[in-house]
């Protein structure tokens, strides 16, 4: 095994071009587990810790450019206003020690369907900035996840940052697990209201081979809210709309049975989380503060 220690981004891209099999390591919270347990013996480890710009973020007009290695702790502390959904999701990641090291770039690189950041990114709307010596490109988040633990990165590419749309309305994140810390999601759900475009976006975690949006549920809800004039009236969403939204979200899953839960439980729980996150965000949109309870929420 070789340990590559690029001192800057250009060096990192050159190293990845020269050694496409090199495994990037930043927080190490996924990679080191695999090495410790002898599940993986990469030929090269590509350390990204020395590249300071990966730990920086810029808040722009419309979006936040979040460096791939910005630890979850920083997202929770500094980006709660701009990225409320992601901040909530970050708070549910493992433990303080892990949140001090792990970041969204690693979540995207690993591309596990259970990664906590994914539902929030899908719901907010995001693009992944990837780069190689050939140049850089932005991959829409909906096209980023290509299979179980697979993503759209080419062998010579590295994740530089994620461009996440700044919240223009309330966002929520909900996750099912056996306790409030150190838990990999049984399933998770992210929801963002976008009053500017009068749309609702969602993200489902851990209930399909990849993180997915509940598109049929979104389309139904967008039409129902428009038709009922809800965005203007700010009336309570009728229970029948919420119920059908939940059923469609549930139908948007294609889960499996595993040690953490059964497929039917996941389908059921996603429906419940869809209804609850819609209720919480809509209450906040209507101006009710209790819809935006801070901190991690139990599902």
């Amino acid at each position: 095994m070789d340990f590559l220690r690029p001192a800057c981004w250009e060096e990192a891209l050159a190293a990845k071009a020269e050694h496409p099999t090199a495994v990037p390591i930043a927080g190490g919270t996924d990679v080191m587990v695999e090495i410790n347990f002898d599940h993986r013996r990469p030929e090269y480890l590509l350390d990204l810790n020395r590249i300071g710009e990966l730990c920086e973020w810029e808040v722009g007009e419309e979006s936040v450019r979040l460096g791939a290695s910005v630890p979850y702790t920083q997202i929770m502390e500094h980006l709660r206003a701009e990225l409320p959904g992601l901040a909530l999701a970050s708070h549910t990641v493992a433990s303080p020690q892990i949140r001090n090291r792990g970041g969204v770039g690693g979540n995207l690189g690993t591309a596990s369907p259970a990664g906590d950041a994914h539902p929030a990114l899908l719901a907010a709307g995001a693009e992944v900035e990837v780069a190689s010596v050939r140049g850089s490109r932005l991959i829409p988040i909906d096209e980023f996840y290509t299979g179980v633990k697979r993503n759209a990165l080419a062998a010579d590419e590295l994740i530089r940052a994620v461009h996440i749309k700044k919240a223009d309305g309330p966002q929520q994140f909900s996750k099912v697990g056996t306790r409030n810390a150190m838990v990999i999601a049984v399933c998770a759900f992210g929801l963002a209201l976008h009053p500017e475009t009068r749309t609702v976006r969602t993200g489902i975690g851990s209930a399909a081979p990849t993180p997915v949006r509940a598109k049929a549920a979104e389309e139904f809800l967008n039409a129902a809210l428009e038709e009922g004039g809800f965005w203007d009236s700010k009336e309570i969403i009728t229970p029948s709309i919420a119920k059908q939204f939940a059923e469609l979200a549930s139908g948007g899953c294609s889960p499996i049975d595993d040690v953490r839960g059964t497929a039917s439980y996941r389908r059921h729980a996603v429906g419940i989380m869809a209804r609850r996150t819609l209720g919480w965000t809509w209450e906040a949109y209507r101006g009710n503060a209790h819809g935006t309870k801070g901190g991690a929420q139990c599902a």
Binding site: T29, V33, D47, P96, Q97, I98
Partner: protein
């Protein structure tokens, strides 16, 4: 490969480090500092918690090569680290804990009359006084995590304490005595101000 980094305030060098080796392995097996415990090796239990450039991390998930040029504080250096902090920083090379001292470090409560015995950080003393130690395996990680909590939050609520220690598993105590110890250390810190 060779890795140069600061451990408990002193410059150290580890040789023949395997590229896939963890910081935890280097500390325990190459530097003779077994205070940081090796349990789950997957970041679940927190018993290997150390400070990396001031931030609590699981040393089992840090690749040794990643600590080149950086600063690590382990439980063996915690007493000295807390002392330096209390005395407002450290400018001289004289402070820090030598590898030899760290290797021989033993926890012992201060003798109430003579004040003799190994020096303890306030959090270590509080763990002893509150009876927060049973088998002791989780203790080093909890000490490092709790010390960092009290450094940034002098008056933690119970929720703050639970959150700060949520990455450290203890299978003996049921946590109640550990929470007592952190509250005790916080109260004593308050008194001292």
């Amino acid at each position: 490969m060779r890795v140069n980094f600061t451990v408990n305030g002193r410059q150290q060098e580890a040789d023949d480090v395997w590229e896939g080796e963890s910081l935890l392995y280097v500390l325990r097996e190459r530097m003779g500092l077994p205070g940081s415990k090796n349990a789950c090796e997957q970041g679940e239990c927190g018993s290997c918690t150390v400070r990396l450039d001031g931030v609590p991390v699981c040393s089992c998930l840090v690749a040794a090569g990643q600590v080149e040029g950086r600063e690590v504080v382990t439980v063996e250096g915690l007493a000295d680290f807390a002392k330096q902090r209390a005395e407002h920083g450290c400018a001289t090379r004289a402070c820090g804990t030598s590898l030899q001292d760290a290797q021989q470090w033993e926890a012992g409560p201060q003798h109430s009359q003579t004040g003799e015995g190994a020096e303890l950080s306030p959090i270590q003393q509080a763990f002893i006084d509150a009876g927060a130690v049973q088998c002791g395996f989780c203790t080093p990680g909890l000490l490092v995590a709790a010390d960092e909590l009290l450094e940034r939050n002098a008056e933690p609520s119970d929720a703050d304490i639970r959150e700060a220690l949520s990455g450290n598993l203890c299978r003996c105590t049921g946590y109640e005595k550990i929470l007592d110890a952190v509250r005790l250390a916080a109260a004593r810190q308050e008194e001292a101000v």
